[in-house]
């Protein structure tokens, strides 16, 4: 009570506390809008930045004292306001204004981030694992949207403008085209007398009216505008935008990986201390609702039982006889071979189907089916093979966590490599297996009979993959998940109860996202509007998955360790990026661009526009660029980065060693303390035996010292409470 009287006597805050935002700040402080209040305006943000005691103001906020005590400490601090010079007080004011501005900026930015409330709700009901899927999805949506804005600004809009003004391509005089006349034939304009349903077929397969549109590479011209004071080189812009798009995605991914990795490293990967962490951090205090709480309790119980079971299995595995161990390993090797054979068979099937679909020519619905055959085979295998692998993994008798990791690795391998097989088969077809001198590939450098505009064809394949993936996901939602819920809820037969409601499994869903994104990256050079299509697709995914989550799914019985898995998913996304960039680099550098279409039609390779453009620069810029690219600059730079890397590695290991040292020191100190306490007790006991009349107070004094030691280490100890007996 004295504290209240004490702070009621205090004067209003000093002048320099009232900043230009004074009225706004006091509104923030008042619990109820009231005028002319004489209560103290307590502004945490205005704690004086004492040069001599920089730690005190910050510590105040983090002290676990009650508000009354904190207020008293703050009053005492305020009394000790130092006399600062005019420069000092101006600096203080500026830093406060800047901090206030940062706070407001952070609040505004948090309004701009989409779906914040929705994702929080999902996290509250279904836990961190499912929430991490939706956070990943949101990251990809923003990435795709920003990429599309980049492409639109530098490639799409100039192309539209130049086409509407009427600039067309100009054939440079240096290129001799008589020998390649046959390659120039390319007429994708749709037949105006086509049957009406061909429009639908064209929409779905990217041919016909869709082929000759801004969607695909073939529509863009190699316009190079040079008028007074304004020049724009569309081929150069196209290539550099594609390159910059890839670098931008890489930077975003690395930043995100850095954030996640720092969390993983700080917590040692969360491997050690399973039980204690489960008990103390297992309960999500943000859960609301009776059902969610019950499910969470079940979940925790299940996890503890699984962990105990795993321990039992490990002990059993350690106690296997030699014969049993041998049999187990032989079984595992056999099953791994089976899995490899399965996956290898899938790849062979994809290659065959791709070759078949590229070479056949039919019309109508059969043509559509044929064109979609590679997508169908890939999607079916991506669904069936992981299922089989899961069943096989059960036979392998690993611990549950190892089983999950193995299944994930196999699924990732399957998805990315099947895409790679598709691309490899396409490459084989386009470049006659790399032999540009073979009969079908001269004189154009690519198989001109089949592929009049090979970039558009590759773009079309990627477009079909994207579209098919979208259709299948939505189809599964409507045709499988909703009926399953309806049947399980209304039918009380045993089969329905055994099957149960759908569980939202995070790993397959995340891998599907990674696969979609890899397809878009691969196709971005050949189909500039693909990131836009992907943005729309992912936005629709978000809402559809959210609906199905709340309507059809039950929370997973097995929780998902989100932090280390987040890093793993970003790593897999990085692998997809690497695959796409290999395709990009190879297409840009090695394969001859089509003569009949596109912005690079008269260059020997797509990369050629860059040296041409560099030639047109002033000599100073040229010299500068050449210097940066030369050995004189790049080798010292490389050596410097290696030195930096070694330094960081050494720093990391030193810090790790000092952490280990400090931990053991901690343990030793505690043991010393215990030893001393035991000694004191023994001493006490002997003293008491000798002189039993000694008052009890002596013992209390020793226990009080113990408490003080505890208090020094124990921040939970409130300083002014009565020391309790040990």
């Amino acid at each position: 009570m004295e504290l209240r009287e004490f702070h009621n006597k205090v004067h209003p805050p000093a002048d320099y506390d009232i900043s230009p935002y004074g009225s706004q700040r006091s509104l923030r402080l008042r619990t109820v809008p009231a005028e002319g209040t004489s209560a103290v305006h307590f502004d945490w943000g205005s704690t004086p930045e004492n040069a001599e005691e920089p730690d005190e103001p910050r510590n105040l906020r983090e002290l676990p004292l009650h508000m009354g005590l904190k207020r008293a400490v703050w009053q005492v601090q305020k009394m000790r306001v130092p006399v600062v010079s005019r420069w000092g007080s101006w600096r203080i004011k500026q830093s406060k204004t800047f901090r206030h501005f940062c706070e407001i900026a952070k609040e505004v930015l948090s309004y701009l981030v989409p779906w914040k409330r929705g994702i929080q709700k999902i996290g509250g009901h279904f836990g961190g694992g499912v929430q991490s899927y939706f956070l990943f999805l949101r990251f990809l949506v923003i990435l795709n949207l920003l990429s599309f804005l980049l492409i639109a600004a530098f490639v799409l809009v100039p192309s539209i403008v130049f086409r509407s003004i009427g600039f067309n391509s100009s054939i440079p005089l240096s290129v001799n085209l008589t020998s390649v006349n046959v390659c120039l034939q390319y007429d994708p304009k749709p037949d105006p007398l086509a049957v009406f349903y061909t429009y639908f077929l064209d929409l779905v397969s990217g041919t016909g009216f869709m082929e000759y549109s801004y969607l695909f590479y073939g529509y863009y011209h190699d316009t190079m505008v040079e008028s007074k004071g304004f020049s724009y080189n569309i081929p150069l812009a196209y290539l550099l935008t594609a390159a910059f798009y890839f670098i931008f995605c890489l930077i975003c991914m690395i930043i995100r990986m850095g954030n996640v990795a720092s969390a993983v490293v700080a917590t040692d990967g969360g491997v050690v201390g399973r039980y204690s962490m489960l008990v103390f951090t297992g309960w999500d205090h943000g859960l609301q609702g009776d059902l969610a709480a019950k499910l969470k309790k079940n979940n925790l119980r299940y996890q503890l039982q699984v962990d105990l079971e795993e321990e039992r299995l490990q002990q059993k595995a350690a106690s296997l006889t030699l014969g049993q161990a041998f049999a187990l390993y032989a079984l595992r090797i056999f099953l791994n071979l089976v899995v490899l054979a399965l996956i290898g068979g899938t790849f062979y099937g994809i290659a065959e189907v791709t070759q078949f679909s590229q070479s056949e020519k039919t019309t109508g619905f059969n043509a559509l089916l044929l064109q979609y055959l590679p997508s169908i085979v890939i999607t079916t295998s991506n669904f069936v093979v992981p299922l089989l692998c899961d069943k096989i993994a059960l036979l392998e008798k690993h611990s549950p966590s190892t089983t999950v990791i193995l299944a994930l690795l196999r699924a990732v391998f399957l998805r990315l490599v099947s895409l790679g097989v598709l691309l490899y088969t396409l490459w084989e077809q386009i470049t006659c297996k790399g032999e540009t001198s073979s009969q079908a590939c001269t004189p154009c450098g690519y198989k001109y009979e089949q592929y009049k505009c090979w970039e558009t064809r590759v773009g079309q394949e990627m477009y079909k993959l994207t579209l098919f993936d979208f259709l299948i996901t939505i189809g599964t939602l409507i045709l499988v998940e909703f009926p399953r819920r309806i049947i399980v809820d209304h039918c009380s037969c045993k089969l329905a109860q055994w099957v149960g409601r759908q569980e939202f499994l995070v790993p397959p869903n995340v891998l599907a996202l990674v696969y979609s994104q890899t397809v878009v990256w691969t196709g971005a050079l050949f189909s500039p509007l693909l990131p836009l299509i992907n943005t729309i697709k992912f936005i629709l995914f978000f809402y559809c998955k959210k609906i199905t989550l709340f309507q059809n799914c039950q929370p997973a019985l097995r929780t998902f360790r989100s932090t280390s898995s987040n890093f793993f998913f970003l790593l897999v996304l990085l692998f997809g990026w690497i695959l796409a960039s290999v395709v990009l680099i190879y297409s840009v550098a090695k394969i001859h661009p089509s003569y009949g279409c596109g912005p690079f039609r008269f260059s020997p390779s797509m990369w050629y526009v860059v040296p041409e453009a560099v030639d047109m620069l002033t000599s100073t810029s040229k010299d500068f660029l050449f210097y940066i690219g030369s050995q004189k600059f790049s080798i010292p730079l490389f050596i410097f980065s290696c030195v930096l890397l070694c330094y960081m590695g050494a720093l990391t290991s030193v810090h790790g060693k000092s952490v280990a040292l400090l931990k053991s020191q901690c343990k030793l100190e505690q043991r010393d303390k215990q030893f001393l306490v035991k000694q004191i007790e023994e001493l006490n006991a002997t003293m008491q035996k000798d002189e039993p009349q000694l008052p009890q107070r002596d013992t209390e004094r020793f226990y009080q010292t113990e408490q003080e030691w505890n208090g020094y280490n124990n921040n939970a100890f409130i300083p002014d409470e009565d020391p309790r007996a040990y």
């Binding site: 923030r28 402080l29 201390g273 951090t281 039982q305 309790r724």
Partner: protein, 172 residues
């Protein structure tokens, strides 16, 4: 009075509204005279954010000045500010330790752990499993070998927990 570093403006006003809702006859709308009003434990644990929390009693008791769970408005704001997403990790660790220390002896001993575990799993683990899990938990976190967790042990263990910040968080 508020801890505006952890709670933003709109949240603070809504907190006062929520506090008033708990006991409209007890809590005045006008706080200019800084009335000395405390809402009892029984009313606070009925909030929807706390109703299903197995540790609701301990949470409210840890933030009350008298240790019995009667919260003034400042304590109420304190509680939600520590449990918000912006409170620093050290502060959350301090209060988490207080919450799990059922017998308030500044140590988490085996009995505290057993009570925690029973509340977490609604007593569906067998007694042997409970004892096993408690033993393992103490074994993992105890640094000084006294078979109970002091705050230093607890904080060391929490610093390695990846999900602590996101689970020790009440959304209001």
């Amino acid at each position: 009075m508020n801890r505006s570093k952890h709670i933003c403006l709109s949240l603070h006003c809504s907190l006062h509204g929520r506090y008033h809702e708990l006991a409209p006859h007890l809590v005045p709308m006008d706080y200019t005279n800084d009335p000395d009003v405390k809402v009892p434990l029984a009313l606070i644990v009925n909030m929807p954010e706390l109703k299903e929390n197995p540790f609701r009693n301990r949470i409210v008791e840890s933030f009350s000045e008298d240790g019995q769970g009667n919260l003034s408005f400042n304590d109420f704001v304190d509680m939600f500010s520590v449990l918000s997403e912006m409170a620093p990790r050290e502060l959350k660790a301090i209060y988490a330790f207080k919450i799990y220390d059922f017998n308030v002896d500044n140590y988490i001993c085996k009995e505290d752990l057993e009570k925690t575990l029973n509340r977490l799993t609604k007593e569906e683990l067998t007694p042997e499993e409970v004892v096993l899990v408690c033993e393992k938990a103490i074994e993992e976190a105890d640094l000084d070998g006294d078979n109970k967790l002091s705050f230093a042990d607890f904080e060391n263990m929490i610093s390695r927990a990846p999900d602590f910040l996101s689970t020790f968080h009440i959304r209001i």
